[in-house]
């Protein structure tokens, strides 16, 4: 396990409406021994409020800037594609890596997501052990291996 405290500190935002999926994800984090705090929002709108610290998320303490966003495409209301688009169009947010987690392996979905700036696209495997593997790999890559800009500095380039 990594001993880098800063990295361990980086929260992960999961955008997912389905309770089972939230549980599965939390379990995967748990079993994958990913210590980063996992914040869960249940809709696209809520995700944007969380990220922009608006609505019920006014105040930095309740809504820390995540180091990684796990985004489900199949959301009620604002769909995942749009959430992705908004994030990537927002100068404050666009450097945050977004991993699309979805059951759709449709080529069109894949292309659209990458076009709109998704950093990774993962089709959720049916078997949990496979999913766990994927989450561990992704978490390890984005949270440990990859060098990302410091979200606290808020520097505009």
């Amino acid at each position: 396990m990594s001993t880098n405290s800063r990295i361990e500190m980086l929260p992960v935002l999961l955008v997912e409406d389905d309770a089972e999926d939230i549980y599965i994800a939390q379990r995967a984090f748990e079993q994958g021994k990913i210590a980063n705090p996992l914040h869960v929002v249940r809709s696209g709108e809520e995700a944007l409020e969380f990220l922009q610290r608006t609505g019920c998320y006014v105040g930095a303490a309740e809504a820390p800037r995540p180091g990684l966003i796990l985004l489900d495409l199949n959301l009620p209301g604002m769909r995942g594609h749009e959430v992705l688009e908004r994030i990537k169009q927002d100068p404050q947010l666009r450097r945050i890596p977004v991993v699309v987690l979805t059951t759709s392996g449709e080529e069109a979905d894949v292309c659209v997501c990458y076009d709109r700036g998704a950093n990774t696209y993962i089709v959720k495997p049916v078997a949990f052990d496979k999913f766990l593997e994927a989450v561990k790999t992704v978490g390890r890559y984005w949270l440990v291996v990859a060098k990302l800009p410091d979200p606290c500095e808020d520097t505009q380039v």
Partner: protein, 677 residues
Amino acid sequence: MRLRSKLTIATLSIVLILVAGGYASSYVARREMRQSLIRATATTAAQILGSINAGLQTQIEHLRAMTRGLDVREALMQSNTDFEQMGGIRERIAEVDGRWTSAAPGELQAMAAGLIANRLAVDLRNRQATQGFRLFGEVFITNRYGANVAQTGLTTDYYQADEDWWQQAAQWGAFVGSVEYDESAAVVGVPVAVRVESGEGALLGVLKAVLTPDGLLAPLTNAGILPWEQGMELTLLGPDGRAVYTARQATPSDGAGVPATVPLPAQIQGLSGYGPGLDVQYGLIGPERLVVSVRGEHEEGAPAHRGHPGWTLLVTRDLRRALKPLDRLQRAMLFISLAATGTAVAIGFGVSTRIAHALSQISAAAEKLGRGDLDARAPVRSNDEIGALAAGFNAMAARLKQTTASRDALEREVAQRRRAEREREVYARRLERLNAELERSNRDLEDFTHTVSHDLQEPLRKIHSFGQFLEEDCGEQLPPTGREHLHRMLDAVLRMKALIQHLLALARVGTRGGELLPVAPARIVETVLDTLSERIRETEARVAVEDGMPRVMADEVQLGQVFQNLVGNALKFCTPGRPPRIEIGGRAEDGRATFSVSDNGIGIEAEYLDEVFGVFRRLHSRDEYEGAGVGLALCAKIVHRHGGRIWAESELGVGTTFRFTLPLAEEAEEEKSLEHQ
């Protein structure tokens, strides 16, 4: 006016003109012939008169010849001498003459007896009887003193020197008198007298004779000129206009014996050109009785016996008889004209009827044609201009019909095309609608597949995840059968997931298919074999690929799927203990490419050869052979999408050959280039 009437009138006019012309010419001919008849009659009359004159001269010459005889001269010389010797000649002659003229007929016989009976008189009578003097009714001779010397008959006087004829003959040598009834000779005759001369030319006396008409005309009769023709009369008139002779009657008809006066025409016209001294005239009694008069003019001062004696010859003839042949000709001409007219009218009527009939038939046909009956035809009955007209009309009608027919056909075709175009438009709209529907349905299908891929898999994933959680969290509390059931459940979830994946793949053949492009199958097969290389190695399979497979029009990815599924099947369904032998081939046949994948595997029962292409159709249990039963269905769907056909041939336990057809790239390219042209 009807054509028939016009033609008939025209024919009739021509015939009438011909007839009129014929009549005019015949009239002219008749007139000319009449004129020439008149002239010919005049000529003949002049000839006859000439002949009569010639005959008269001949007779005078006869008489002269007679006077030259010695006995005549001697007798006269003797008488003259006697008178001279006696002396007192005048007184004596006057005394005898006085006696003679005053004597009764019976006494005169006695007085003249000596003169009639003397030698000279006897000689004269002999000559009269034997030498043709019978033509002379009476002949007597005087001496130079005018006293009778000898005579053949009685004379009424004795002294002749006081007579005109005696003086004329004595002075000029001859005299020809006018016709008269000679009482002494009791004949109608012409007195002629000739001078009797001595050899030296001295006057010896005068011989007088009375020439009878028969004598005058005898030469003509002898020459055959007379009698002339039936109905023709010949009359000779003396200078005083009395008839000397008529051919109809030998002697004048009146009982007194005086020559009759011949009636002459009221109008007389002169003719010329018949010789000098001939006065020729003609006239008509009644319409057709021609009288030609020829008169020999006695020359002024000429001796009486010279030239014409001043006689007139009248020739009367009936012109009708002469012109009879001409009249017959005219009648024949009239008959012929009438016949010709009749024939001409009949022919004209017939011809015009035929022409009018033929023309009316043509005109009726034309009228029918005009009313729109394109089958109207005129009968062609003859080989002439009307036939040609009818034939021409028929040809025109036929062409018209043809033109109309082709025009109708054209119109029909145009209408048909319009209809077809409308139908095409309708179809095009329908097609558009169908296309839209198809697109919508494709979108629906896409949505559906999207839904399937997302929503159907979601619960599966969760079932599987929570199944795993169950095993992880409570596995130890479950009895072994419970764990076994849980595993089977999780397996089923995975199979379900695989089925969904296949279904999606199947659905994507249509919706996610790429464009059909020319591709080389050899390269695709190579890739497929590369992909399958591990399984090939595992199964120890031997794969042979035919060279020169034709290029085809295909979606490269899908064609790869087909080959992959077929080769995969061949590797899968192999007979245990027998390494698979796979042959891949392809060749161009009948304008298409036919590919084949053969194996030496387990084979397929004949009754299932078609069924193997059904979706999720399996012939074997999963325990024997893995698979969802989608591979061949996918192949079939792909091949069908390419417009091809797929089928299987198999022998159980020997092997199976899958064949499928695809469009050839060359043909498709050719079609494309043709379309561009």
